[in-house]
Symmetry: C2
Subunit: 334 residues, 2 copies
């Protein structure tokens, strides 16, 4: 294990995986935690899911999002990924002394309206203030609970070769909105975050069909990290086709300028779905009827070979391995 915690330990890549498995899973092990799903499934008389997420994004306000909206949508989406109807959120605020009240109010307004839109309520909370310099403006933790949809059965264990991989829309917008929103970046690309709650897009699909086997939102580490996690957990390879992957032109341009690969850039309003091949077109059609899914695409499939790797077929027809991100990508993206 490392001597010091580095930014790469929070980047969603392999360093973070090692820290989680090498320290946290080892010491806190229990059958629910070890599943490492986005939320914990807890059996009461009904199945309840429970999740947590902290938000440390910088800057606090972006085009199309802010730390408050992110805190609601991020936790809502962690529940949705398990086929869960989000119901209740908690709100933990850690505030730096001296924060403008107006800033806090804007953030709370955004939390309130995002919660309303997602149909969840903030039912409990906690407030801490630390002295100037001990935190950067504000950090927010939202934990969430919800009820598992009847019949929902989303699990890595159901994934098989030939299953299709669907992305619900254009990738990389959130991460590039953060980069462009940072002081000094001044790139003029004016990219808006894709931050959105995905319950109204995805839960109706889960209710209608059993074809969707697994969902995950590609946040830190982007599509690359999520697909590598799936490959790692199932042992199957994954083939994706560059020409099928939707990326907004301005996101692509900003990525090229900065030497970033959109596959590694964070999303906050997108999901990757692993879908049984024969149901994939129908799922795609349903998704496209929703404003958040209009640009959904089948981008690849599960393969038995490929050495259990994620492989990208480029526009030129060549193939390259898409590795797990290893180091620090973009800190404080969410």
């Amino acid at each position: 294990m490392p001597e010091k915690i580095l930014l790469s330990h929070g980047s969603g890549g392999s360093a973070m995986q090692e820290l989680i498995r090498g320290l946290l899973l080892k010491k806190l092990h229990n059958p629910i935690l070890k599943e490492l799903t986005d939320a914990a499934l807890i059996r009461h008389r009904e199945r309840i899911a429970f999740t947590t997420d902290s938000f440390v994004v910088s800057p606090l306000f972006l085009r199309g999002a802010d730390i408050g909206k992110l805190a609601v949508c991020g936790t809502v989406n962690d529940l949705v990924m398990l086929g869960v109807q989000p119901e209740h959120l908690s709100l933990g605020l850690i505030i730096e002394e001296g924060l403008d009240y107006r800033t806090l109010e804007r953030i709370v307004d955004s939390i309130a309206s995002s919660a309303r839109r997602a149909g969840v309520s903030i039912v409990t909370g906690d407030l801490k203030v630390v002295e100037r310099g001990a935190a950067d403006k504000i950090f927010i933790n939202t934990s969430g609970i919800g009820r598992v949809i009847k019949g929902a059965d989303l699990s890595l264990k159901r994934i098989r070769p030939k299953d299709k991989i669907i992305v619900t829309g254009e990738i990389g917008s959130h991460g590039m909105a953060v980069v462009c929103g940072r002081k000094g970046a001044g790139l003029g690309f004016n990219i808006a975050s894709d931050c959105a709650s995905l319950n109204t897009l995805l839960l109706p699909v889960i209710r209608k069909t059993r074809a969707v086997k697994f969902m995950r939102d590609p946040t830190r580490g982007g599509v690359a990290a999520t697909l590598n996690e799936i490959a790692g957990a199932t042992g199957y390879g994954i083939l994706i086709k560059e020409k099928m992957i939707p990326v907004a032109p301005r996101v692509r341009m900003a990525c090229e300028l900065l030497g970033l690969d959109p596959l590694y850039v964070a999303n906050e309003g997108k999901a990757l779905l692993i879908v049984e091949a024969k149901g994939a077109e129908k799922v795609l059609k349903s998704l496209r009827k929703h404003s958040l899914g209009r640009k959904a695409k089948i981008i690849g499939e599960i393969r038995p070979g490929l050495g259990g790797k994620v492989v990208l077929e480029t526009r030129l027809g060549t193939e390259r391995i898409v590795d797990m991100p290893a180091g620090e990508i973009l800190p404080r993206i969410c």
Copy 2:
């Protein structure tokens, strides 16, 4: 509302109350949140409680406690106060780049052993790393869920004049352990925090008797803040007797030296119970059988008059009002 957020907004006193009521409750209102209990009670087929707490204590390690133990015990106790058997915790870590891995490991060890002792499991988590200087070493959020004990009916609404007030042990130890643990304090008092999970002390009592009407753990703002909250919410006055309030000699001496009043100093392993008069002695006896309750005392009672204030009868027989703490007391106490 204020222009800037001040440390006093996080101190558990009236400034925090105003911020919570003036901003958070107003914008996020819903019937569950407005109860402002330590955890949210959510009706599923069984009653589930849900709570959250962030920990920003400095220093990270104290005699008798550390941020990891606090994070478990604090959230466990928030559930216990509602008559809830704590079951599952989430763990959200916000770490400053450069934290020693050994420090993180010690904290996780402490979380693991505290969770084991309290009979709860960490079932979901989140990890963020922020760049050097953007946070102070580590902040921890723990949210928790549990099941409401059958028959438990703890509510401010049940409180009536003549009800007795029980404190489960000596007060002020946690806050003074933090003060003495801070660099430069060097007071030589060697005070240990009282940090402990109270489920094994309190839940058996709740199971046995309906005499306990309300419980709360006097953390930030101490016994003074908690009693003022009870007085404010019920409209009744509260009379407490100084000579009945248990304070360890070294805590009393440290408080005197620093000009602090133990009534305002935080506790992390104590509870205040409001108990029907005729059952109070029996409850006291049960508490005293447990190692965490050996010094439990009846310290006062609910009174119809007193102008709805908290009044202390001093050792000299005079009376003084114990106000809600107003400003910054001791920041980063938990």
